[in-house]
């Protein structure tokens, strides 16, 4: 009885802020303006604009996730080698920018990449030709990598520090070189962290609309932008919810992956 009472606030929280909103999205997604059942909002993903936006989003998030992984894994290995004190300090430095607002950080990138921005200013001073950086898919990928990299580093780091040094030493004793240790010991043992990191980067990258608005100049339409437009400008909550459901399908796939590879929850970030 007492335990039930104590769980009350959390149950309320979950019902109020997870289950009811989710139910509302499902409801809106499967009805039309008059409230009648329809699948039209889901099927709408097959129109040329929507599917193009979806594939573009999938593509850009895939590239960002891959870059994050390539950057994060060596970093996590370095942090592991540094030991607890130094390692945690570097992790701390890494998380520091996350104390600032996400929007501010993205706006800062805008100032850096603009035609008359900081980077082009430096190039001009060095008498180098200016670069067209902003409003390109590359700028969007950069924004995604910058904002989501910590979400890749932390789970991988958390898994790597838990690997017993003796395991690695044993491998070396048995004649394994660095590549063999990496490929046959470290990588297999850190799969839960990698999978968790991939999800933590891929999901927000797939759904973002702020980064593509600010760094893409709204010229590149991602699926997140389509959904945002339906809610804020189109007043078509039904279509917006329907497309969100389609996105949720892709997110569920990545969740299923986590469940498959991360059975013990070792890769959890915090």
């Amino acid at each position: 009885m007492n335990k039930k009472l104590l769980s009350g606030p959390y149950t309320l929280w979950m019902i109020g802020f997870t289950i009811i909103p989710l139910a509302l999205i499902v409801y809106y997604g499967l009805t039309d303006r008059s409230g009648a059942f329809t699948l039209a909002n889901i099927i709408a993903i097959t129109t040329a604009e929507h599917s193009k936006a979806l594939w573009l989003s999938l593509g850009l998030s895939f590239v960002s996730t891959l870059i994050c992984l390539i950057l994060a894994y060596p970093l996590a290995m370095v942090l592991r080698a540094k030991g607890v004190g130094q390692g945690s300090f570097i992790v701390f430095i890494f998380i520091l920018p996350m104390w600032m607002n996400f929007l501010l950080r993205t706006l800062a990138w805008q100032t850096l990449l603009e035609k008359n921005g900081v980077i082009n200013g430096i190039l001009t001073t060095l008498h180098l030709p200016t670069q067209n950086l902003i409003n390109t898919p590359g700028a969007i990928v950069l924004g995604m990598v910058y904002n989501f990299l910590p979400f890749m580093v932390l789970p991988i780091y958390n898994v790597l520090v838990k690997i017993d040094d003796n395991v690695i030493n044993a491998a070396k004793d048995l004649g394994a070189n660095f590549t063999q240790v990496l490929l046959r010991i470290l990588l297999p043992l850190s799969v839960p962290g990698i999978v968790s990191g991939i999800t933590m980067v891929f999901v927000p990258a797939l759904t973002t609309f702020v980064i593509s608005n600010l760094l893409g100049g709204s010229k590149i339409l991602l699926i997140g932008n389509v959904i945002e437009q339906e809610f804020t400008k189109g007043s078509n909550w039904n279509l917006g919810s329907g497309l969100s459901l389609v996105l949720m399908f892709f997110i569920l796939i990545s969740m299923a992956l986590i469940a498959k590879y991360d059975k013990n929850g070792e890769g959890s970030t915090f």
Partner: protein, 365 residues
């Protein structure tokens, strides 16, 4: 019908939450005496806050003040009625939509004598969305035009037409408005169509024109036009006239080696008007009328103009301004040239979705 139920449930949840919050700090409400309260719902940054205090002091009515960011965000809140507002300040086309859906109460102008301060042309303009001037009292107005950078645009290239935004000389140097109706207005006007068109064919032509323009466009932005133009990022930008006073001030303060000038293209433009209305379910209608009357008082309207810098339709307030501001054509364009101007109208959900679908096609190209 079910949809409404959901909305009511959601609104009720919000109301319960906010009531719980308000109870904590709302105790002082009783101190203001028997004059009661007025619930005001306005755009963000759209009033000089000292005006609210002055109103409370002069009338003893307590103001509960909330803000919204877009008309589309405001509408469902009023529709659900979870929080009952007494005075709201939407734009032209949204007022028309609210009138059509019986969501507004007629204002008793016997209680708002200051309506006489509003310049005649604006009462005429109001008729395009409030045909009998029964529901709304004008607050701010403005136009949409092209802002250009004098150092990047040669004197012979100074824009005179919307089609100058299709000039290949300005490749990657054009900032467009990232809002559906404004963007289509820019393409419909040079085609010779009304910006309130409901014809699918005319809209398709406009869409094709916008797709043709896209490669030249640097970015589609809304509020950032201002800062990007000040920073010299682009040669041409589509902007709301209300930003001009701030821009001119900022350019002067920064000591830039260029200036930014505002032109209204010859094909005419969109003229917008934000007006005060009273929702049909307002619990304190008389207080709302006092509030509106107060805002229409010339000295108060001037105070608000000084803060918001969006043009005021208030003749009394206009007369109090410095001559150089009165003659600033960017802010107060000549009323006599208004023949090609149009005010946005609400076109119904079905036409709205044509606009939205076409806009998505432009954006995804």
């Amino acid at each position: 019908m079910k949809k409404r139920l959901f909305k009511v449930a959601a609104a009720a949840a919000v109301a319960v939450l906010s009531a719980a919050l308000l109870n904590g700090c709302g105790k002082s409400a009783d101190k203001t005496g028997g004059a009661g309260e007025v619930y005001v719902y306005n755009w963000g940054e759209y009033i000089d806050e000292s005006v609210i205090e002055q109103f409370e002091e002069e009338t003893g009515i307590k103001v509960v003040y909330d803000m919204f960011e877009t008309n589309e965000e405001m509408y469902p809140v009023i529709e659900a009625g979870g929080v009952k507002y007494d005075a709201v300040c939407p734009s032209d086309y949204m007022i028309q939509k609210m009138i059509e859906n019986n969501m507004l109460a007629e204002i008793n102008f016997d209680n708002v004598p200051n309506i006489k301060e509003i310049d005649k042309p604006f009462m005429e303009m109001t008729k395009s969305f409030d045909p009998e001037n029964k529901y709304s009292a004008p607050y701010c107005w403005g136009t949409v035009g092209i802002l250009y950078n004098t150092s990047m645009v040669a004197p012979e290239d100074v824009p005179t037409s919307w089609l100058d935004l299709w000039d290949e000389k300005f490749d990657d140097n054009i900032l467009m408005q990232d809002s559906v109706r404004d963007a289509f207005m820019i393409a419909l006007k040079p085609l010779g169509y009304s910006m309130n068109t409901t014809s699918r064919e005319e809209l398709a032509e406009a869409r094709d024109l916008l797709i043709e323009q896209k490669p030249l466009v640097q970015a589609y932005v809304i509020d950032q036009v201002r800062d990007k133009m000040i920073g010299g990022e682009a040669a041409l930008g589509v902007i709301y006239s209300g930003e001009m006073l701030y821009i001119q001030q900022e350019v002067a303060d920064l000591g830039l080696d260029y200036t930014l000038e505002y032109v209204i293209p010859e094909e005419g433009t969109c003229l917008w008007l934000d007006s005060w209305v009273i929702p049909a379910n307002a619990p304190n209608k008389e207080n709302a009328e006092k509030w509106i009357n107060f805002l229409l008082r010339p000295d108060i309207a001037k105070k608000n103009f000084d803060y918001i810098t969006y043009a005021t339709p208030n003749k009394g307030a206009f007369d109090m301004l410095e001559p150089e501001i009165q003659n600033n054509k960017a802010i107060f364009p000549d009323v006599s040239t208004f023949k090609d101007f149009e005010v946005f109208k609400y076109l119904g959900d079905d036409v709205d979705s044509i606009y939205n679908d076409f806009w998505k096609e432009v954006k995804s190209k």
